[in-house]
């Protein structure tokens, strides 16, 4: 019977529908099988329900463009009618289904299990839960649901058929031929007790959780967070340290997975857990079962459109890294076979299996090209080099990137090369973070960091995927071709899964490379694009009339000065020339310890530093502060920054200055802002006490302050902009929808780069800031007295 007819009106249950294969499968069913229903199992997100996720992550994918075009107005109605999302999770027993979900599952005729964690570097316990236990859970939930429904006597599909998608690599990558047979029948397969592996993985997670909480280990996370963020505030540091702890556990679980997989002969945790998953499934399933094992799935050959791909998968990042000149070499054997299969062929094979008779015994199909139509690694590299030779990518300056010659070195050599490079970059990066640089130099170190990340990723590819370019196993497709030969001619046109029809040269040049280049965010032409640059776009968003509030930090954001400079200026203002060197010497001697204290805790620093104002006459300082502003601060200001404040005001945004500087010092700035939050010093008898009235508005206090301020004025922080220069302002930047890093110091530069925050480089007016030392001008008359304590 033709596939369409066999499947018409059937109800499919699909897991992993938000993935690459799952999306293609759902689309194909809805587009080609008349009246078929699809139920998708979707894990609800933190904010989105299963239905919302299905609509956003499945239907809005460009995979559905063709169907949307064909159905036009009827698309919404048709989809609502035929596609149902149920909430559930393959990593939970019973799939986490509610009653309705269970009865829907029971009513399905075909269950296709695509859900898997396909990343080759998943933590072991996650891979175990999803890849190893997932298939068995689906089978068990299906059986249980059908039993329930049988008792309740509602619609239950006759002869249900479960199709589990596995991977060809469960057979390992070692030499020899892998047949389409159960692992238990294979000569090469080791007997492994999967329940013991599940136990071990879960225990490993618990051990690591405990280990990560040892004080010494916790200390390293705290230290790491501080190195990265500086004095960003306790809360943010804690949050970052906790993330570092999670990552630490994850890294160790990844290592554990790879080690265990390799000890049993698989290259990594993915095929290892998938293989044990097959065993678990066979041992526990009580429903009719077919296992489909694709090899490396890549962009589609024809359906829904040639070159359709979702997400960046295994080969794509490697190819792009190569084209960008980041990956100079990739290990592999030129004669080795890279077993690639277009996604639409896998989908077609699954549908052909589903359309066939329900099997009595579990059966296996490979969907692979390596035997019937092998693509040699050497040929693939030639094709890639040739294509990028003609369609080069371009660097930031618009120069074409030239491609390295690939010499097919051994994996060890490449790894060593890359490790050396990343170690050198690590060292340079550490050095740069220690230097007190800001602005463009800091951005330089951030770009070094980016290159470092890319190099590390390249190293990761080599470590992870090296095995797959050295694969010598050949995955036979006799049963697949047998199935193919039973198809009617019309089906052969519509549901093609015969790997022999692929013309690799055309596939690589005409379909795959153009598709991944258009998906990768890379420059494919030398011209600077006519569209607005990213900074221009960001600036337009920041200065959109609908923004609510613009909050500014002061020091190094609007003015290249700090509290020490201001103090030195005020303290020296009425000091006779003879006593000035002493003051300067004193401050310079204290410089390093002041800097260290500032880095450790800005609040402590300000409190202790401001003690120096003890006993100073208020009136005198208030007068001098104006002179300080015009003589010292304004010449060191960033005109573009001051213009930005006014631009916000003109647009009707509220403007707020948040600074740890003292109120009398910044009094001349008052007219620039709607409001100012700053430090205030207590007074007694017309003199300053040297003690602050309240905590200075710094670090995390700023986030709270911003949110209180926004609340009090009915403003939304999501619609607000914040400008700051240092990682210690991170809380303030994170609190708003439009953070801007101004002349960022290296830590903030790195953070801004990672998070895609807008960066402004504002400069002092050339010609300003004549004075090297922040000391006040000499009194015209020499009989004034210094208002601040003279140096002792």
């Amino acid at each position: 019977m033709p596939i369409r007819a066999a499947l018409a009106g059937k109800r499919f249950f699909v897991t992993g529908a938000t993935g690459f294969l799952g999306t293609a499968l759902v689309e194909r069913i809805l587009r080609t099988v008349p009246d078929a229903q699809v139920v998708v199992l979707v894990r609800p997100g933190r904010r989105a329900s299963a239905a919302e996720r299905a609509s956003r992550e499945i239907l809005r994918n460009d995979c559905f463009d063709r169907l949307r075009g064909e159905l036009a107005d009827r698309f919404e109605a048709e989809i609502t009618n035929r596609l149902t999302a149920v909430s559930g999770d393959v990593s939970r027993d019973g799939l986490g289904l509610d009653d309705e979900g269970r009865s829907l599952l029971a009513s399905c005729d075909v269950v296709v299990h695509c859900a898997a964690t396909v990343s080759f570097d998943a933590p072991l316990d996650q891979a175990v839960e999803i890849n190893l236990l997932g298939p068995a859970r689906v089978a068990q939930a299906l059986a249980a649901a059908r039993d329930d429904v049988a008792r309740a006597d509602v619609r239950r599909a006759e002869g249900v058929h479960m199709i589990a998608v596995s991977t060809a690599y469960v057979a390992g990558t070692h030499q020899g031929e892998a047949k389409e047979e159960l692992l238990s029948e294979s000569r090469f397969s080791l007997e492994v007790d999967w329940t013991a592996e599940v136990e071990a993985a879960r225990r490993r997670r618990q051990d690591l959780e405990a280990e990560s909480r040892r004080p010494a280990v916790l200390g390293t996370f705290a230290k790491g967070a501080r190195e990265e963020l500086g004095a960003a505030g306790d809360h943010l540091l804690a949050a970052r340290a906790e993330r570092l702890r999670d990552e630490w556990i994850k890294d160790r679980l990844v290592e554990a997975g790879t080690a265990r997989a390799q000890s049993l002969g698989w290259p990594d945790a993915y095929p290892f857990t998938k293989a044990l998953g097959e065993r678990a499934l066979i041992e526990t399933a009580s429903v009719p079962l077919t296992i489909v094992r694709p090899s490396i799935i890549e962009s589609s050959l024809a359906e829904p459109v040639p070159g359709w791909i979702r997400g960046f998968r295994m080969a794509e990042p490697i190819i792009i890294s190569f084209a960008r000149g980041l990956l100079r070499e990739f290990p592999g054997v030129p004669e080795g076979v890279v077993d690639v299969i277009p996604v639409d062929m896998v989908v077609a094979a699954i549908l052909a299996v589903a359309a066939g008779p329900v099997p009595d015994e579990p059966s296996v199909y490979h969907v692979a090209s390596g035997v019937a139509n092998p693509l040699r690694y050497g040929r693939l590299v030639e094709l890639i080099q040739d294509w990028f030779g003609r369609h080069p990518l371009y660097d930031d300056r618009g120069q074409p990137i030239s491609l390295p010659d690939w010499s097919f070195p051994g994996r060890g050599r490449v790894q060593r090369q890359l490790q050396r490079a990343t170690r050198a970059m690590d060292a340079a990066e550490r050095l740069l973070t220690l230097l007190p640089v800001r602005g463009r130099q800091a951005s330089l170190s951030a770009s070094l960091e980016e290159r470092n990340t890319l190099a590390k990723r390249a190293l990761g590819y080599v470590e992870l995927y090296g095995a797959y370019t050295e694969t010598e196993a050949r995955y036979r497709v006799d049963r697949l071709l047998g199935l193919w030969s039973t198809l009617e001619d019309a089906d052969k046109d519509d549901f093609c899964f015969d790997p022999r029809v692929i013309d690799w040269d055309h596939y690589v040049h005409g379909i795959h490379l153009p598709s991944i280049v258009s998906h990768a965010r890379v420059r494919t032409s030398p011209a600077r694009s006519a569209v607005e640059t990213r900074p221009a776009r960001a600036r337009r968003a920041i200065l959109a009339p609908e923004r609510h509030l613009a909050a500014f930090d002061l020091e190094h954001t609007l003015i290249a000065s700090n509290v020490v400079d201001s103090y030195a200026w005020l303290a020296s203002r009425h000091l006779p020339a003879s006593k000035r060197p002493k003051l300067v010497a004193e401050l310079m001697a204290q410089g390093p310890s002041l800097l260290a204290l500032d880095r450790r805790d800005r609040g402590d620093f300000l409190r202790s530093f401001y003690r120096r104002y003890e006993g100073a006459p208020v009136a005198q300082l208030e007068t001098d502060a104006w002179e300080l502003f015009f003589g010292q601060l304004l010449p060191r200001s960033f005109p573009a920054g001051l213009a930005r404040v006014r631009a916000h005001r003109r647009l009707g945004h509220r403007t707020l200055l948040i600074t740890g500087a003292l109120d009398f010092v910044i009094a001349p700035l008052r007219p620039l802002f709607d409001d100012i939050v700053c430090a205030r010093m207590a007074q007694a008898d017309g003199r300053f006490t040297g003690r602050l009235d309240e905590l200075p508005p710094i670090g995390e206090a700023r986030a709270q302050l911003l949110s209180d301020y926004a609340g009090a004025h009915g403003l939304s922080l999501a619609e607000s902009v914040a400008y700051a220069d240092s990682a210690s302002d991170l809380a303030m930047l994170e609190a708003v929808g439009f953070p801007v890093a101004v002349n960022p110091e290296s830590r903030l530069a790195a953070i801004a780069r990672r998070r895609g925050w807008h960066v402004e480089h504002w400069e002092k007016a050339a010609g300003g800031a004549a004075r090297l030392l922040p000391v006040g001008p000499l009194d015209v008359r020499q009989h004034a007295t210094a208002p601040l304590r003279e140096p002792v």
Partner: protein
């Protein structure tokens, strides 16, 4: 020895290279044969006893005014206004002529028993003077006597409480000036008439006015019709000021105008070569020139700037006249011409000028690119009577480094003007229409003008309007040695050498143009016939 009059040299094979100012440096340029170089008259002799001359002027007023002592009486309100730091250039060696004049006025006031006296610096929209600058202009004695009691003030064109609207002229011009000055029984104005543009009714009508009042003559239309603004009868700027001045007089404000002229002894003796004609340089001149030029080449521009701005000119008083504004100013103008006038026959295709480190608006500050344009195309271009030195469609070549530098405290709105306005358009009319108001009313600029030492937000516009006549008249402006980005931003062409500039000019004026060079210092006024 009698000072020699001005002189126009025709360059021939024996002419030595000619000295050009180049910001904080000098260069010697060999001009093409047949070029003309205009030299100013030599400095006139100083008055022997300036104080006696001042007293004489105060007691023997010109026009319809009684002698000053007769105008003073106990219980009266007396306000003495004086020109600000923009005059003279460079600042003169102490004692400043303002100090000398005001001391005499105060002596007479004291003798007459006047005790309500206020001093006001007539800033218009210029920056406020610093304590040191006020002390220099007035002397420590006057400063100490008035400043601590709040009796030495600076005109604040943005203080609504201290402005008074005196009326509207028949051309619809608002006249709004300083209230204390306008409501005093006598307003004594102390002027330094460095160039022919200064003084007369412009002293009060501009120096003590508000933006509302100034905008009627400080605009592109007026400036294009001031030909030149150094020649009051042909200057729309002055016609407007004269209308306002007469309205001020008619509304009962009694002004006793004291105008002074200085000789053009501009630089101290170690820079003597600057003021001499090159072929007359002595061995000593040559040696000091070479030593100075070599030293400046090795000096960072910032340091060189400080050195130059510390120069005090040996200017000496050559005339002082007092009394009714118009009568006084007629004599003053004649005295300015006596010192600066040079007769020049016919126009030229190319006018060259070396621009110094200083203009009226960057005393103790930075000569930013807008001020370079203003000094060259505003001031130097307009140093004519009759017709412009350069023909319509001709070329002006400026010699100045034109660094992209601004003093953030003195010229904050210039920075934004250069960044945002000139990047959009350089057309004065378009600029006035689109941008002037927002700069003039920007509260931040107003704040900096009133409380700091910043020029008013609208001031860079005025500098650009000052160039309007030249921009309208010229075919091209080339800046030799200027920062290319800054020069292009203003719509001019940068050239690396004078030869390159002449080559570029040939596109506009052909292969064999006539060339005239204004040799400064000292300042001169060309009477072009």
């Amino acid at each position: 020895m009698t000072p020699r009059p001005g002189f126009v040299l025709e360059v021939d094979r024996s002419t030595p290279p000619i000295l050009f100012w180049h910001g904080e440096r000098f260069v010697l340029e060999r001009l093409p044969e047949g070029s003309r170089v205009i030299y100013a008259p030599e400095p006139l002799s100083a008055l022997d006893d300036p104080s006696a001359a001042i007293r004489h002027a105060l007691r023997n007023p010109l026009g319809d005014r009684a002698p000053l002592p007769a105008l003073l009486r106990p219980g009266m309100r007396l306000t003495i206004c004086f020109d600000d730091v923009s005059l003279p250039l460079p600042p003169m060696q102490a004692p400043d002529v303002r100090q000398l004049v005001i001391e005499e006025v105060l002596d007479m006031a004291a003798s007459a028993g006047v005790d309500d006296v206020v001093l006001i610096a007539a800033l218009a929209l210029h920056r406020r003077m610093t304590e040191a600058e006020l002390r220099h202009a007035l002397g420590d004695r006057i400063y100490e006597a008035f400043a601590p009691h709040g009796l030495l003030t600076q005109h604040d064109a943005e203080d609504p409480d201290n402005l008074v609207h005196l009326g509207t002229t028949d051309k619809g011009e608002d006249v709004e000036i300083n209230k204390r000055a306008a409501t005093s029984d006598l307003l004594v104005y102390v002027n330094i008439n460095l160039v022919a543009m200064d003084g007369g009714h412009k002293s009060v009508a501009t120096g003590l006015a508000s933006y509302q009042s100034l905008r009627h003559h400080h605009n592109p239309r007026t400036m294009v019709h001031s030909r030149s603004f150094m020649d009051a009868p042909s200057s729309e700027l002055h016609t407007s000021n004269w209308r306002m001045g007469r309205l001020i007089a008619d509304s009962g404000v009694k002004i006793f105008q004291i105008e002074t002229t200085l000789n053009t002894d501009t630089f101290p003796s170690q820079f003597g070569f600057l003021q001499r004609r090159e072929w007359e340089w002595s061995l000593r001149d040559r040696a000091t020139y070479m030593a100075t030029a070599a030293a400046l080449d090795r000096t960072p521009p910032r340091v060189a700037r400080q050195v130059f701005h510390s120069i005090r000119a040996p200017h000496a008083l050559v005339s002082v006249q007092a009394g009714e504004v118009e009568a006084v100013h007629a004599v003053t103008t004649a005295n300015v011409w006596r010192q600066q006038g040079v007769e020049v026959r016919g126009q030229t295709d190319i006018l060259t000028m070396g621009l110094p480190y200083i203009s009226p608006y960057n005393v103790n500050s930075i000569m930013n690119p807008i001020l370079v344009a203003c000094l060259g195309l505003g001031y130097f271009f307009n140093l004519y009577r009759g017709m412009p030195l350069v023909r319509e469609g001709g070329v002006v070549i400026l010699h100045h480094p034109t660094p992209w530098e601004f003093h953030p405290g003195h010229h904050p709105s210039y920075i934004d003007f250069f960044e945002d306005v000139l990047s959009d358009t350089t057309d004065p009319v378009e600029i006035a229409k689109t941008y002037e108001e927002s700069y003039a009313t920007d509260p931040w600029y107003v704040h900096l003008y009133r409380t700091g030492h910043a020029y008013h937000g609208v001031h860079p516009f005025y500098m650009w309007y000052w160039c309007a006549h030249a921009l309208d008249h010229l075919g091209r402006v080339i800046v030799v040695g200027g920062d290319p980005a800054a020069v292009r931003r203003m719509g001019f062409s940068p050239a690396t050498s004078l030869d390159d500039a002449l080559e570029m000019a040939s596109d506009v004026v052909g292969r064999s143009p006539s060339l005239t060079h204004i040799h400064t210092p000292p300042l001169l006024l060309a009477d072009v016939r």
